[in-house]
Symmetry: C2
DNA sequence: CTGTTAGCGCATTCAC
DNA sequence: GTGAATGCGCTAACAG
């Protein structure tokens, strides 16, 4: 006997399964006496109705899924935390899965959630038109994209105004004093492209001779790339300002530079983007642009739940407002 | 029409649902010609069989759940990352849920996973004999406890040898130079009790006059408590060594002390416990005891999966070996 | 108030 | 090779 079922409870209570079912879902329709009896049996066996059966029988599921790229990147943790707060408050259940930056894992995760007929899905997609999103569109399951915008008129999303964030950083960087500017775009993710664009559009590229250096997604990547950068760009001798398009990577860079004896912000000023929690507590508190990640999560979750409960197809496209956070990693000397 | 079903595919293909079912689960039992046909229809509609129905019909579920206390604490992230690596490799799917330190939410999460008939569950419980564990025992679902040991002969767990970790820290602290020792136990969680006990058993409590100060679970808690501690223990004038039983809290303490102008490790040496990822990259790299969290996760996941796939009830009780990590936060001056 | 019946979508015997 | 029948555990009409 694997799991005890509603029939077991019914027999033991000497009633029909309908009655047991009622006791669980609409207790007031049952005579107090029998209700108490049934409840005692349920309790005795710690009976928990199967969500599989309930779902099949037509009860709406009460769980929502969230697919992230990577657990260690605190960006997603903060997001999950925000989402969790509203999901839970509204009596739903949040399940998180990670795709480790593999588009095919991302797709697998989404498939898995669709397969289990999740009530709704939140996805921070690798790209606005990746396979996972395509699949989602055909799935009939409500979903909201996070950290990604799309022109598709049927898709809701919540993201930060990354272009504006890039602009904010550019305006700030202009006030700093340095001999060379290095931009580390980190990846070709849409959000990154936006923020780099916003940055470049508002800085005098010719005069500042920004240098582009690319491709790094994790803390480790930043750590490793820092060494070669130090040599390539003579960071030890040339006063440099570095804009890394992602805090997590930026922190990797900072840690490595410090290990190499390069001082921050004196020799190299480093700025990031995201304002994840650890940015304020890392080796050198990081100047960055806040995306209000926690709020992004909350808002997306609200939209999704409204969609589910009110069964409305209204699409919402929301951009959170970026805020510049100046900390020690770029303080003027 | 909510979701398309196996019947839809069957009709459109002009075959019976049995055939469609075979195409999916045992393709070689179907004539190549019809198989291709059916597959094309499946593809055309992006048909994904319902895990609810499959589960009900007796197919074993391929998902495993993990319940953590809190997302922002990197300890659980590292754990999840380790778990994820083996779960995925073995074609299972990992779903993470958080309980935000509420025992009743912990219970709810476990209920939710049992309800959905998850194949297996990993739980980092608030206590070895909390309600969630009790429920799990009656659920017939294989599970492994993480970060917790129990005498119960039927329960498998993977935890760190926290007592030994406390001893390691004590031996190290003895070599340091300070006027007072402050112990911040953080919580009454079993792991914490163990490590504090290991610490106290191996240090001369009388001579060192350790001071006990309690109850803090998060970064914020550490941050807030640091201020009052500074006054209570005259941290500005008395050379102090502080053992905080949890890295995340320790980092909060460090950040606040620095803000107050107290130098680390010169005026106050701080040691933590856990060796979460950010410990090496925080304001002052933290001396701590490594629990090899990532491995804990991997091992627990292996045990659980073996249990599920081989259907064996063998219980495994595993303690990982702690390792002292000396970093700048306590470097001798 | 309570029991009976009929699916929900699928896998799995069995026949053919 | 393939189709028809049965049941998984539960909810939702429908009768009593």
């Amino acid at each position: 006997m694997k799991h005890i079922t509603i029939d077991d409870i019914a027999k033991e209570s000497g009633v029909s399964k309908s009655t047991v079912s009622r006791v669980i879902s609409r207790p007031n329709l049952v005579k107090e006496e029998t209700r108490e009896l049934v409840l005692s049996i349920i309790d005795k066996y710690s009976y928990i109705p199967s969500a599989l059966a309930q779902g099949l029988a037509g009860l709406p599921m009460k769980n929502i899924g969230f697919v992230v790229d990577e657990f260690p990147n605190n960006f997603y943790i903060d997001l999950a935390d925000g989402i969790d707060s509203v999901i839970t408050a509204r009596k739903y259940t949040l399940q998180v899965m990670s795709s480790l930056w593999h588009p095919d894992r991302e797709l697998q995760n989404i498939r898995s959630m669709i397969k289990s007929r999740t009530a709704g899905i939140l996805l921070s997609p690798s790209s606005p038109d990746c396979e996972a999103v395509e699949l989602l569109k055909q799935s009939n399951i409500p979903f909201v994209l996070l950290n990604c915008r799309t022109e598709d008129p049927e898709i809701s999303y919540v993201s930060c105004d990354n272009y504006e964030g890039g602009r904010l950083m550019a305006e700030y960087v202009k006030t700093l004093d340095f001999q060379q500017l290095v931009i580390l775009p980190v990846s070709d993710h849409q959000t990154v492209v936006d923020r780099i664009e916003g940055f470049e559009d508002h800085i005098d590229m010719k005069a500042l001779r920004p240098i582009l250096y690319s491709n790094a997604k994790t803390y480790q990547d930043g750590y490793h790339i820092a060494q070669s950068m130090a040599e390539t760009y003579s960071l030890k001798t040339k006063k440099t300002c570095m804009f890394v398009a992602n805090d997590y990577v930026a922190i990797g860079v900072i840690v490595k530079l410090l290990e190499m004896g390069i001082t921050i912000p004196d020799q190299v000023a480093v700025a990031g983007f995201d304002d994840i929690r650890i940015s304020a507590m890392c080796r050198v508190p990081l100047t960055t642009v806040s995306q209000s990640v926690y709020d992004m999560g909350r808002i997306a979750a609200e939209i999704l739940l409204d969609n589910i409960t009110q069964n409305k197809t209204e699409v919402v496209k929301h951009l959170t407002e970026p805020r510049l956070m100046v900390r020690e990693s770029t303080k003027k000397t």
